[in-house]
Amino acid sequence: MTITRRDVLLGAAATAALMPLAARAQTSEVVIGATYPLSGAGAQVGVDAQRAFETAVDIINNDQDFDLPLAKGLGLPGLGGAKIRLVYADTQGDPQKGRAEAERLITQEKVCAILGSYQSAVAVTISQICERYQTPFLSADNSSPSLHRRGLKYYFRASPHDEMFSAGMFDFLDAMKKKGAKAETLALFHEDTIFGTDSANAQTKLATERGYKIVADIKYRANSPSLSAEVQQLKAANADVLLPSSYTTDGILLVKTMAELGYKPNAIVAQAAGFSEKALYDAVGDKLEGAITRGSFSLDLAAKRPMVGKINDLFKAKSGKDLNDNTSRQFMAMIIMADAINRAKSTDGEKIRDALAATEMSGEQTIMPWKRVKFDEMGQNNDADPVLLQYVGGKFVTIFPSQAAVADAIWPMK
């Protein structure tokens, strides 16, 4: 690349910063990129994600006695013990910026794969650019169902999407109804961005299919200063089950407003997001005894699979929190990607992609309650079973499905 004056003006800093990196040999390390919101509204999730990835990378790079792929031994044996190096980029939750960062990670930082991205809108553009550069993109925690249906070869998602999550929620409701619980009428409470919209669409469809009556469908503006009018409508509808799809901020406000207006729902079955974040329970946990949320991960799996507890401790040491819905998926995404790179024995995008497509990881070898990790032809793992967790006594208890449950659901919530 000929360096012109203009280039110096625009790229001087970049070039200077990169000199030492470019000098390093490719084979002794494997560079993986992570695109997350690190400032702005989603920053908390992005920062937690960094801790999750670091936990995974520590385990991979060092010798740990877990029945987890690549835990034993140092680094990636398929590449001569090469260690993983993470590079982060701030998407600021914006699709265009996310794409620019992904491109920078690929072309300048020379990452061989990218993990991301929390916001599904940003995943759209990042996955597009990854496709153009034939760099695999593993959606750690994006839940929009449309992401894997766009005919992309380099897009993979190991975790469930909103339709799978919602189906899990309705399977649970069906089971509760069979046990005689009152669960006929539903109230949907969802924010108005991509997450809430996808969630509400999936829930509406399932409700119609399975014979539930939606007595309230409240679509609210995310980050509203006040939710009084919305909650008043929920209260008036008085559904058997409240199904919120809210981020942490709105979740906190929702619960506080419900208490202020004297509305105690019979049951809450949340679409995770805010309802799986420690910050929400720190703020309003006292009012959420018995609240249920769908999730990808349950900490009480540690009883059956001790490494879950130990890995949680490693994560907690870095972040001060337990693994949750998001961070567990981010952790697993790193493991899955590293495993594929290891099997590919190469940092070539196409080879990694083929290795990912051939992934067959038993659920027992993960920290998740999944059956296994196997991607279909669209890149989706259909064996990632969601679980339902109930917040009891300050902890999350798995209550569904029966093979993962450690306790019966408390219904209605206290």
Partner: protein, 292 residues
């Protein structure tokens, strides 16, 4: 749609509206004083909430008690912002308004960055304040105590401000300086001092609002953003330069927001507020009570 739902929503809207008024009145004061729109107003609110949070967490001071402290802290901040930043922005020979907007806009970004740096992006809240989580029920209508207290403080603050501006020497100096900054120097009034104090006062009012809100709202670096826009619309609706207008505007905005959420899908409730604003200014181009 029962009568109870309507009345409850309106009551909640009124309480919230008084709080919007309290947030807006500080903005109106600063604007009325020197024709500057403070784009960092939302961040002032955010900072006040953090101050209250830390006073509670480390010194166990309830937000009710720390409200004056938060106001004092913000007073200092407001004065400093004027002296260090806005004073220089006002020296622009052309487009003074725009320069101030962008100087305060830059300040807003810096404050958010600093908040993230020092407080992290995690969401905080004040879990067990005296009034937090408690509600009074009057004839079946629920009135949350923090918001109720906030409404009373708003009314008191507005009343106090009104008296201050119209009955005290300093208040009159504020008015005079606003009308003719050049002339007041001749009477020995230091323009900078007046402006700095004006900014301090405006910030202090928002400090009160922040302290009250900390007892029922969540706190994180970007929390000011959603309130800032409402504050600007409120001030404009009431009329720039009118303290009473900001107050009345707040009540109107609160009620309109609540009503719209009952009639339209709640995700569109802001449209009601915006439509009312546009309607008002198309008919009365200076807002309801504006003098500028």
């Amino acid at each position: 749609m029962t009568a109870e739902t309507i009345i409850q929503s309106l009551a909640s809207g009124l309480l919230m509206g008084l709080l919007y008024g309290l947030i807006a009145v500080g903005l109106a004061l600063i604007f009325g004083l020197m024709d500057v729109v403070n784009f960092a107003h939302g961040e002032f609110l955010m900072l006040a909430m953090y101050v209250t949070f830390f006073l509670f967490t480390f010194f166990a001071i309830d937000p009710l008690l720390s409200a004056p402290l938060a106001a004092a802290a913000l007073f200092v901040l407001g004065a400093v912002v004027y002296l260090v930043i806005v004073r220089f922005a006002m020296r622009a020979k052309a487009n003074v308004g725009m320069v101030q907007i962008f100087a305060t806009f830059g300040l807003a970004i810096v404050m958010r960055g600093l908040a993230q740096l020092f407080f992290t992006a995690d969401y905080r809240s004040v879990p067990n304040s005296w009034l937090g989580g408690k509600t009074i029920s009057v004839a079946g209508i629920f009135l949350p105590q923090p918001q109720l207290f906030g409404a009373l403080v708003a009314i008191a603050a507005f009343g106090g401000l009104y008296l201050f501006i119209n009955r005290t020497d300093f208040g009159r100096a504020l008015e005079a300086t606003r009308e003719d900054p050049g002339a007041v120097a001749l009477v020995g009034i230091d323009k900078n001092r007046v402006f700095a104090l004006g900014w301090g006062l405006g910030a202090a009012l928002v400090g009160l609002a922040g302290a009250i809100m900390a007892s029922f709202f969540y706190i994180y670096p970007d929390v000011g953003a959603s309130f800032a826009l409402i504050a600007y619309v409120t001030v404009a609706l009431g009329g720039f330069g009118s303290v009473f207008g900001a107050f009345a505007g707040g009540i109107i905005v609160g009620l309109v927001e609540a009503t719209t959420a009952l009639v339209l899908p709640p995700s569109l409730k802001s449209v009601g507020i915006y439509a009312v604003y546009l309607l008002v200014v198309f008919i009365r181009p200076r807002g309801l009570f504006g003098s500028m």
